[in-house]
């Protein structure tokens, strides 16, 4: 599932007129040679085979899936939808089924993609276009934060959500424990997940959006200023619409990352069925019911549908030449 995500990381530039360089042309020529096509097709096929295996297995009867490899399906085709039915309804062994977790994933991933985008786009604009002392250093600082591994921050964050955090006597994050119990008010809510995902996403989001926004032509901002627009209007009316390709790229990237995340989810949501996402559920199918290959694959395919829809529906925002006609190069 992470295949799509890794393809999106390359952000399209703002596509200034003078960017029609020879490098791009020669790269295009090299990539369209027949040998390159053969290699690309070969790699694509190899890359896709495991997913095809997954898909085939998800439609095979339980006994077949347990005992023979998926490729034997082509000699002995037997198709059933009962795997999907069992995963969705819960059937006899699967408890509530996948649907509550499916919706949890949405409830986690959508805000966790929107929050960092709102914060990061504003921060990126400020660093790129609001002149203030130390902007460069703040940007470097944020950039440097990307080297902090997520895993290192998990436990301190968990502690912060549960016990609060203060420097000396100054409270930075309040102690949200219910009076007289060891239960945090945040337990059983999506809030810790949203906060965690937002925090982990911000450095990269600010970095990418800043680099995109900084390339927008200065004259546009100046024209808007002369037209009477302040920073907020310039941001909303000029910079945001022109940054749609970058924002869409990052939205897809972040949504898929959160959708596929398991580590952050089980750390902050625990196994509680009212907040745990679909990945957590898939892990439990495997864990508590032994190797139920036919069910895992069916569950995985339900989980895969959403990233595919997101990717294809947002893809149209990767429009090129958004700046065409604005400034003459």
């Amino acid at each position: 599932m992470s295949v799509e995500a890794s393809e999106i990381v390359i952000l399209p530039g703002p596509e200034l007129p003078e960017e029609k360089s020879g490098i791009k042309e020669s790269a295009r020529r090299k990539l369209s040679s027949p040998w390159a096509v053969v290699v690309v097709v070969f790699i694509t096929v190899i890359w896709t085979i495991p997913t095809v295996g997954l898909l085939v297995t998800s439609f095979r009867p339980a006994a077949d899936a347990q005992n023979t490899g998926w490729w034997t399906f082509f000699r002995n085709p037997a198709v059933t939808f009962s795997n999907y039915a069992e995963v969705i309804t819960g059937g006899t062994t699967m408890g509530t089924g996948i649907m509550p977790y499916f919706f949890n994933s949405f409830a986690i991933a959508i805000p966790a993609a929107i929050f960092p985008l709102i914060l990061a786009s504003m921060a990126a604009y400020a660093i790129a276009w609001v002149p203030f002392k130390g902007a460069v250093w703040i940007f470097f600082g944020i950039f440097a934060l990307q080297v902090v591994p997520l895993q290192m921050a998990l436990l301190p964050l968990l502690q912060m959500f549960n016990l609060g955090w203060s420097i000396g006597d100054i409270p930075i994050f309040p102690d949200l424990n219910k009076p007289g119990s060891q239960q945090s008010l945040l337990a059983g809510t999506y809030i810790p997940l949203w906060i965690a995902h937002t925090m982990f996403a911000l450095p990269l989001a600010i970095f990418l959006l800043h680099n995109f926004m900084a390339q927008l032509p200065r004259d546009l901002m100046e024209a808007a200023r002369v037209d009477g627009a302040g920073h907020f209007l310039i941001f909303r009316k000029i910079v945001l619409p022109l940054s749609i390709p970058a924002i869409a790229s990052f939205a897809i990237f972040q949504f898929l990352w959160v959708w596929n995340d398991l580590l952050v989810a089980i750390t902050f949501a625990g196994g509680t069925p009212d907040v745990a996402p679909i990945t957590s559920y898939l892990a439990t199918i495997k864990g508590s019911y032994g190797a139920q290959l036919h069910l895992i694959t069916a569950g995985a395919f339900i989980a895969i549908i959403v990233p595919l829809i997101v990717f294809f529906s947002l893809q149209r925002f990767f429009v090129r030449g958004l700046l065409a006609g604005s400034v003459k190069g």
Partner: protein
């Protein structure tokens, strides 16, 4: 309502720089006047314009729009409209939206916005393009949209930063006259920046010549041409530029290339060294039977005129003469020239005109 603009001893020194980009600029642009700022690149003309817009800081001095001191007023609150060299149209908005943008910010009523945009579009011949995006327009149309965006504002002042430099030569001449006519019609105070002295001479009510951040002269085009304040203005205005001859001060005149050019005693008394600069416009330097000699190095036939380029026999001074004759000299010939009307500048310092 249109307003005057006044620079009061304005200077700009960029942080870390040693030479000011603009130095002690004193200049008043009257209500409704079309003033052209002209000079070679890096002379501070665009910087001065951007100071009025509020896009450039001011280290020293004050700028007034009307009676209002705008030195520390943000660009968005100055009520000026600017046309950028590369137009800076908002690429995601249609032509109409581009023009309406500033009005929407000012919270002008919708019907009023529509009326003004329609009016401007009609004036600029853009009516059928109002719904198009800038990328679907030609260079000339984009330029007109940029003008339209300024016109609908009905601002205190128009600022134009080389708005014609991205157009091809023919369109530039055409648009030049259109802009000048439009300005007359609207009567809005306009500051226009260009490096092209022809544009400056044809468009401006007055022209301000800048060099190295210092104002050299402000005057009407005619006076600038006839009475340049110094050798720089003299050579900058006019094409081909004025001949400047290094001549030695002798009794009763200035001597170069073996000839003495008679100059009045009072004039020579004002010279600050034993040399002066003698200026002659190419059209005042005619080929003649006798007079100073010139060795021809290049002949340019332009149809109506023929310009003869050459050097004095000692090779020190380069000259350009306009030949009206039907037979023009050939390269390598030696001809005589006859300076009809001369200017004299001091050879050092500001090279001020003394005659």
């Amino acid at each position: 309502m249109t307003e005057s603009v006044r620079f009061e001893d304005v200077s700009l020194l960029y942080p870390g720089g040693t030479v000011p980009a603009v130095s002690h600029l004193n200049l008043t642009i009257e209500k409704g006047e079309f003033l052209v700022l002209v000079g070679p690149s890096g002379c501070g003309k665009s910087t001065s314009l951007r100071m009025v817009a509020g896009l450039e800081p001011i280290s020293d001095g004050k700028i007034f729009i009307g009676d209002r001191d705008v030195t520390n007023v943000a660009a968005k609150d100055r009520d000026i409209a600017m046309v950028f060299q590369n137009y800076a149209l908002y690429p995601h908005m249609s032509v109409g939206e581009n023009m309406a943008f500033a009005l929407k910010i000012q919270k002008v009523p919708k019907e009023e916005i529509a009326r003004r945009v329609q009016e401007a579009a009609k004036l600029l011949d853009l009516t059928e393009y109002v719904d198009r995006k800038p990328k679907a327009l030609s260079g000339g149309q984009r330029q007109r949209v940029a003008m339209g965006r300024a016109i609908v504002r009905e601002p205190h002042v128009f600022l134009m930063d080389e708005p014609l430099s991205n157009l091809d030569a023919k369109l530039r001449v055409q648009t030049r006259t259109q802009i000048a006519a439009l300005q007359k019609r609207l009567g809005t105070t306009t500051i226009y920046v260009t490096h092209d002295q022809v544009e400056a001479m044809t468009m401006g009510d007055r022209v301000a010549v800048l060099k190295d951040g210092i104002l050299q002269q402000v005057d009407t085009p005619r006076k600038l041409y006839d009475e340049p304040a110094n050798a720089f203005v003299a050579t900058f205005i006019g094409s081909p530029s004025m001949n400047i001859i290094h001549a030695k001060v002798v009794d009763g005149g200035a001597e170069f290339g073996g000839t003495v050019l008679p100059i009045e005693r009072e004039v020579l008394a004002k010279a600050d060294s034993d040399h002066v600069l003698v200026g002659v416009r190419p059209e005042d330097l005619n080929l003649a039977e006798s007079g100073p000699e010139m060795k021809v190095t290049l002949v340019e036939e332009l149809g109506a005129d023929t310009f003869v380029y050459g050097t004095t026999p000692d090779g020190v001074n380069e000259l350009v003469a306009r030949s009206r004759g039907f037979t023009s000299p050939r390269v390598g010939d030696t001809v005589h020239v006859d300076p009809q009307r001369t200017y004299v500048f001091t050879a050092t310092g500001t090279q001020a005109r003394i005659k």
